[in-house]
């Protein structure tokens, strides 16, 4: 899935980056030694030991000193009592990749006069959020600079409605960039009322709920959003990314609907050419058979200064044209009142 850079070149680049990281990044080097992997012998991206996402919460994962960080992105979750952090020596690679692929998947038709409306905390409130950083860039490069409607923990619904109305009068399409929980909150506030977006508009939604609002199944959320915004459901584009990575995946249905890419069903995520998402067995970490569910092992060539291969606990299945996301791997069933890590983690800390 992904990896449309010619296979051999992708492997070559990934292994070269992994060798660099093994020498410079303590976490990558330790993992390779523990697995008995000789970096000099790496020939395929699949051979690179993948660093679990929790490692970013426990120790620094970087090939450079902290003093050289241009920015440190942090996770919002605190599953082990600490937020995961990803220090970038430069944001140039991150920006270039995010803009290039974001443009292809969100605004491939280059809509004129696009206005960006953002339902997430602005960078001034969440300066370490990679999502806020990326969306601010999208607003600047794809649209008019953007306006933020979630601040101080409050959703400015009247302000959002006014901005939408303004765009409608101007005949300008809207790019609504939002977290899933903010959208659910908005739907709850609308209580069934419509908030139609101008023709040509689209919505990028991302992220889980993390207990901040009620959870809504992806299909139900898409239907509700399409109804409330009076949009084609294919104009609701899910983004899949994480702080530990430098690249993002998107649903490909919008591109297909615009006739600018293969026609893909809703829910099918597409990785950028410099990224491979492979479902692997959660116990053996071996690739699963095509069509079977595994946990996502991600090789992201843009993760130059941290870990080029990252192991998530997100369940995915490879399908024609991409992959589908199936939620987090459930933990072992709890037994009695003894420790059940998964259940404890669901409750905090």
């Amino acid at each position: 899935m992904g990896g449309e850079i010619a296979g051999e070149l992708f492997d070559e680049l990934a292994c070269e980056i992994a060798r660099f990281q093994a020498a410079r990044c303590g976490a990558v080097g330790r993992l390779m030694r523990a697995r008995g992997v000789d970096p000099g012998e790496l020939r395929e991206a699949a051979w690179i030991p993948a660093v679990p996402t929790d490692v970013f919460k426990l120790t620094r994962v970087a090939a450079h000193e902290a003093s050289a960080d241009e920015v440190v992105f942090r996770t919002s979750g605190t599953t082990v009592g600490a937020r995961g952090s990803h220090g970038l020596r430069t944001t140039a690679t991150y920006r270039a990749g995010a803009l290039r692929f974001g443009e292809q998947m969100l605004v491939p038709d280059r809509p004129r006069g696009l206005r960006a409306l953002l339902l997430m905390p602005p960078p001034s409130e969440a300066p370490d959020s990679s999502l806020g950083f990326m969306c601010a860039d999208f607003a600047r490069h794809f649209a008019d600079g953007g306006r933020w409607f979630l601040g101080g923990g409050r959703l400015d619904r009247p302000g959002l409605a006014a901005a939408i109305e303004e765009a409608r009068r101007a005949g300008a399409p809207v790019l609504l960039l939002a977290t899933s929980f903010a959208l659910v909150y908005l739907l709850d506030e609308l209580a069934g009322a419509a908030l139609p977006l101008p023709p040509g508009s689209r919505v990028m939604q991302t992220g889980g709920f993390k207990g901040r609002t009620r959870e809504v199944a992806a299909d139900e959320l898409r239907r509700s959003l399409a109804g409330a915004f009076e949009l084609d459901p294919r104009a609701i584009v899910s983004e899949y990314g994480m702080t530990e990575l430098s690249s993002q995946c998107y649903e490909g249905a919008l591109r297909g609907a615009l006739g600018l890419g293969p026609s893909l069903p809703e829910g099918v995520l597409v990785a950028p050419p410099w990224m491979r998402v492979s479902p692997v067995d959660p116990v053996t970490l071996e690739p699963v058979k095509r069509g079977e569910v595994g946990i996502a092992r991600i090789v992201d060539l843009a993760n130059v200064d941290s870990a080029v291969a990252v192991q998530t606990q997100d369940q995915v299945r490879e399908v024609e044209g991409g992959f589908v996301l199936l939620g987090r791997l459930p933990g072992a069933p709890p037994r009695g009142c003894s420790l059940a890590v998964e259940e404890i983690l669901r409750g905090g800390p």
Binding site: R30, V55, L58, G81, V283, T284, G336, A340, V341, I344
Partner: protein, 346 residues
């Protein structure tokens, strides 16, 4: 028959089960290994060291004071450690003259043995085992199990019924390079790390070399089965291989990290997460987010004392005694605080 006498009767019944050579003891040794999957050696050791059969008057007084008077108490047992039934029944009878006990489907042998032992002890009160709960609004429920199971149970109770739940928890040990390994072996092996007091995290303060040397000796102390192959075990091992180090014994996995950013919990029995800290303060910071799940703090010394101040609801235990708390109330003191509508006995 008063509450104190009812509790003493439970202890007498427990003594009958653990009496070497007794018929009930023999039956326990023959049947519990099959039900629990534990080797007979571990069943025998749990019977000998973890089943409460005596308590001082002072301890009994505290146990009685830990529960309010009720007309009838339903007890919902968990299936992780069979020995827990004794204290659960004692607490219920300390609270009410009538009790109904619902064993876990995975743990029916020991409650049945206790029922039969009680029948042979003079005094009033029959231990009634039930398959289904039938709780009246004026009843109380003492429930042991997963947090999710307790939440489901509470939601299903009739209005007015009081529920005293004992959910997930884990034990923490603290010490330095002079840690008593024999005591640690006892804390680890009793109940095969399956109790809610069982140690899963060990904080050690000291120099890197001496802590690493100590940690290297711990896997050999474990006498239980290895952690099963699971995604969570795999993830833990991979994470520690990158963020710290893994020390593996024939059937034990130890993760070692020095002054980490956060605290990782090992997901299975047969595992211990060892954290070397440079300062007492660092250990306190690391445990803070997990404090509400810590049921027991074992160990001695300055580090243990400092952690105890951060964990006021955790039981304190001397080295080697984490699985053998005195019979002075519930094992899990985190939930001994009265819930609304559940007043303590004065």
């Amino acid at each position: 028959m008063g509450a104190r006498e009812r509790v003493r009767r439970v202890l007498a019944a427990a003594a009958a089960i653990v009496e070497p050579g007794g018929a009930l003891h023999e039956e326990a040794l023959a049947t519990l290994p099959r039900e629990t999957g534990w080797p007979e050696r571990d069943v025998r050791r749990a019977l000998e060291l973890c089943v409460e059969r005596e308590a001082s008057e002072d301890e009994l007084g505290r146990l009685l004071a830990s529960v309010p008077e009720e007309r009838r108490v339903h007890v919902v047992l968990a299936g992780n450690v069979f020995v827990a039934a004794v204290r659960a029944v004692a607490l219920a009878w300390a609270s009410a003259p009538e009790i109904l006990v619902k064993p876990s489907r995975r743990g029916t042998v020991f409650p049945r043995l206790l029922q039969r032992a009680l029948a042979s002890i003079p005094g009033e009160g029959h231990l009634t085992l039930v398959e289904h709960l039938d709780v009246a609004p004026e009843d109380a429920v003492h429930a042991y199990g997963s947090d999710a199971a307790l939440a489901s149970l509470r939601a299903a109770l009739p209005p007015g019924a009081r529920c005293w739940g004992h959910g997930h928890g884990f034990g923490v040990l603290a010490g330095d390079a002079s840690l008593d390994l024999d005591a640690l072996a006892l804390d680890l092996n009793l109940l095969l790390q399956q109790g809610c007091l069982s140690p899963r995290v060990l904080f050690l303060i000291g120099e890197e070399d001496e802590i690493r040397a100590l940690a290297g000796r711990i896997p050999a102390l474990w006498s239980g089965p290895p952690p099963g192959p699971s995604a969570a075990v795999r993830e833990y091992i991979d994470t520690l291989q990158a963020a710290g180090e893994i020390v593996q014994g024939p059937s034990f996995v130890l993760g070692l990290q020095g002054d980490p950013e956060g605290l990782l919990l090992p997901p299975s029995a047969g595992m211990l997460h060892v954290v070397r800290v440079s300062t007492v303060q660092r250990a306190c910071e690391l445990i803070e987010p997990w404090a509400r799940w810590v049921t027991c703090l074992g160990g001695s010394g300055g580090l243990a004392e400092a952690l105890a101040r951060r964990l006021p609801a955790a039981r304190r235990a001397a080295p080697g005694c984490m699985q053998r708390p005195p019979l002075d109330g519930p094992v899990d003191l985190r939930t001994s605080a009265p819930v609304p509508g559940y007043s303590r006995r004065p």
